[in-house]
């Protein structure tokens, strides 16, 4: 979907404002939100792709006015609701249903403190074997498809329908377009594709600039 997140080449956001000696978190709640997002992700109810789709599905007015950790928090709430792990009433009340009852037993997949270091150090590799031969090789000229699905994709709007050159074959990876929607990993090859500034931006391009992106085979056709 070319939602509010699909920002490449958009105008009107003003200057970049780096903050000198920026703190890691700007408030305690940001740190807790980071922890909640990672701990809830470890429960295994959703994939990273579904998580990204939850963030980009926020209304544009919210997406553009929220800090990034607020975007994360709102998306986490949406995922917890969607997967039935909390109820709308609990979210509105800010307390669990039946508050008089004892705390529930730990979920079998609850991320325990003693496992955090190992889980973070392991990460979640997204590469997968693919059986089909590569359709493209480094040096091949390709064109990105004109595609504007209403569902999750990792082909940015500013790169649709453009000519580029394959720079590298990165091997097979989980396809976000299906994986975000519970339709399986359906791995495809990913290629690094280079686009000249002139190709993307015409006479607005700055001299001597290019953009590369890592794109799944299904996003590409031979030019």
């Amino acid at each position: 979907m070319n939602g509010p997140h699909d920002l490449g080449g958009a105008m009107g956001f003003g200057p970049v404002q780096p903050e000198p000696a920026e703190p890691l978190f700007h408030a305690e709640w940001e740190a807790r939100a980071l922890g909640l997002v990672l701990a809830c992700g470890a429960l295994g109810y959703w994939t990273l792709d579904e998580n990204r789709h939850a963030r980009e599905s926020l209304h544009p007015a919210i997406y553009y006015s929220a800090s990034y950790y607020e975007i994360w928090t709102r998306a986490l709430e949406a995922l917890l609701l969607h997967h039935g792990l909390i109820t709308p009433e609990e979210l509105v009340q800010g307390i669990p249903a039946a508050p008089a009852s004892a705390p529930a037993d730990p979920h079998p997949r609850q991320l325990r403190a003693e496992r955090v270091a190992a889980v973070l150090a392991k990460g979640g590799p997204a590469d997968r074997p693919v059986q089909t031969p590569a359709r493209f090789a480094p040096g091949d000229r390709v064109r990105t498809k004109r595609m504007h699905p209403k569902t999750h994709t990792r082909l940015p709007r500013y790169l649709t329908g453009h000519n580029g050159v394959i720079e590298a074959d990165r091997g097979g990876f989980v396809l976000p377009d299906t994986n975000a929607h519970g339709l399986g990993e359906q791995p495809q090859r990913v290629y690094t594709v280079v686009f000249s500034g002139d190709e993307l931006w015409g006479e607005s391009a700055e001299p001597g600039t290019s953009v590369s992106a890592d794109l799944w085979e299904g996003y590409l056709e031979r030019a």
Partner: protein, 205 residues
């Protein structure tokens, strides 16, 4: 709740709304057995004290002093970086891109905030901002100038948009006048911005 402090209108709502929202969520999830608050503490501690740009700076400094390591980093960034003990979340598929006089590299994620956590830690706010994500692909020279980086026109600029799960570490050029420095002293010169590509490394003052 009524109150009688007219000069403190926020009296009964003195928490930041997001603070209250996140506290409530943590309370609900803890009571339901879905999260362990001590695990949150451990996650926060990891990114506050263990995983940050100091890791990436070690990788770059080693590449500057050790040609074999630099070659390994170029061919197999995952293996080379893991040899220094840096692995894991948002660093599973690393690529190192080396700046040269002919090509400067700069990294972005236009679609979200993909960033090489394993070597740089959590991204700064500006990296996640719509201003950076929208503009660096269409006017990288103007954006770099806002960081104080004015590159000669003969230096091409490659913007790497992190659209998939590959994560990019920029290896800046080693500045002149650093021949006698130790690896640790070199690492101290290397900023986070230099490893994203919105900066370069200046020589010792």
């Amino acid at each position: 709740m009524p109150h009688d402090h007219p000069d403190h209108h926020d009296h009964d709502n003195h928490l930041d709304p997001m603070d209250a929202r996140v506290r409530a969520l943590e309370t609900i999830l803890t009571r339901k057995g879905l999260v362990d608050p001590a695990a949150l503490d451990a996650i926060i501690d990891t990114y506050a004290h263990k995983v940050g740009p100091q890791n990436g700076a070690q990788v770059v400094a080693k590449a500057w002093v050790d040609a074999d390591f630099a070659d390994w980093l170029r061919r197999d960034a995952n293996g080379a970086i893991a040899s220094l003990g840096f692995t894991g979340r948002q660093g599973e598929h690393m690529q190192a891109v080396f700046n040269t006089p002919a090509q400067h590299n700069v990294v972005v994620c236009t679609l979200c905030s993909c960033y090489p956590w394993a070597v740089l830690g959590l991204p700064p706010v500006w990296y996640k901002s719509p201003a950076y994500r929208s503009r660096v692909v269409i006017e990288p020279r103007a954006v770099l100038a806002e960081f104080g980086l004015h590159l000669p026109t003969e230096t091409g600029i490659r913007v790497w948009d992190s659209t998939a799960e590959l994560r990019y570490l920029v290896v800046p050029m080693r500045p002149a006048g650093t021949e006698g420095l130790s690896e640790a002293d070199l690492a101290a010169l290397i900023s986070r911005e230099a490893m994203i590509g919105t900066g370069i490394v200046a020589g010792p003052a």
